[in-house]
């Protein structure tokens, strides 16, 4: 038991400098849901597809970073003000580039990702047709 307490105390010691960036109270809607359930659902769906810039493998919905909290509040406040989720995404992409969004887009750089499977499927179809026809003939 004493060992557990000692461990806790040691952890608290290390945690102190980290908590400094939380010294200011979080933005109003960082950890508070919107009163309107439909708006909150819209905001949450958008938050799941926005990248936390501090912890780049997490969405802002999953991240505990203070900056992600500020981004959540920004998303919720804009949704509450009646803004379209895609407009909010566009606003962030304008500032951080496509990297901030997890939702894939077709761009001059990404179109092969969508085209290659179609081309492969077409090629497989052609090969199969040729083989099947040969099979008929035999």
């Amino acid at each position: 038991m004493t060992r557990a307490w000692f461990l806790l105390a040691a952890l608290a010691l290390f945690a102190a400098p980290l908590s400094a960036q939380d010294a200011v109270p979080p933005a109003p809607y960082a950890n508070v849901q919107l009163p309107d359930a439909a708006q909150e659902a819209k905001a949450h769906a958008l938050m799941l597809t926005l990248r936390c810039l501090k912890c780049q493998s997490q969405s802002i919905a999953d991240s505990d970073a203070p900056m992600a909290g500020d981004m959540r509040s920004l998303v919720r406040e804009r949704i509450a003000a009646g803004e379209d989720p895609e407009a909010i995404r566009a606003w962030l992409v304008e500032r951080y580039g496509d990297y901030v969004s997890y939702a894939p887009r077709v761009t001059p750089l990404t179109w092969p990702l969508y085209a290659i499977p179609l081309v492969l499927l077409a090629a497989i179809g052609l090969v199969l047709r040729r083989r099947l026809r040969k099979g008929d003939g035999a």
């Binding site: 960036q21 200011v24 203070p66 304008e94 500032r95 951080y96 580039g97």
Partner: protein, 182 residues
């Protein structure tokens, strides 16, 4: 089935070539340091509208209108809780001593913490705005602290320096300021 010809000699090697190519790509990705910095897409665009309260009593706060008076300056995004921000303090002091105007944006910081930080590391800022909700930071496409932006006289973002300013970066910032000043 006898009509199907055995694959020609070069196609036999194709899977191996593909494998070696893929393995090479994977290895090069493993050994090359990854680009973890997110660059702002706001370079060349005007600063957004904002008004921030003063972060410390000794300096006025910061608004968009303070940054479009014809004079180029540096906008330094920092925080008292950020260790690299202390590392870049001597470089900011050098630039300030040369007559460069530097304004600060303190991210999620209490006045007493900012004051203690400035007392310890020096205060190169003419104005310091308190950005309690990352409003300006998100507005200019900054993703961390410290970051330093070169702002021209019209309030347009012209250059972004990500991370602490080390002594070897001072000359580049000086040059960027000169470019936008002329």
């Amino acid at each position: 089935m006898s009509e199907i010809k055995p694959p020609s000699r070069w196609t036999l090697w194709l899977p191996l070539v593909l494998f070696v190519g893929f393995a090479g790509l994977a290895m090069s990705g493993l050994f090359r340091p990854a680009q973890r910095e997110v660059e702002s897409a706001m370079i060349g665009k005007p600063l957004p509208q904002f008004t921030l309260r003063a972060a410390v009593p000794e300096r006025p706060g910061l608004a968009r209108s303070d940054l479009a008076d014809g004079k180029p300056r540096l906008l330094n995004v920092f925080a008292s809780w950020c260790l690299p921000c202390a590392v870049e303090a001597p470089q900011l002091a050098t630039l300030q001593a040369e007559g460069v105007e530097i304004v600060g944006v303190a991210i999620r910081d209490r006045p007493e913490d900012v004051a203690a930080f400035l007392a310890r590391h020096g205060n190169p800022f003419t104005r310091i705005g308190a950005d309690d909700r990352s409003e300006v930071q998100l507005g200019i496409g900054s993703s961390g602290v410290p970051e330093t932006f070169v702002i021209d006289g019209q309030g347009t973002i012209r250059y972004q320096h990500i991370g602490e300013i080390r002594p070897e970066h001072v000359a580049l910032l000086r040059e960027k300021l000169k470019e936008v000043g002329s």
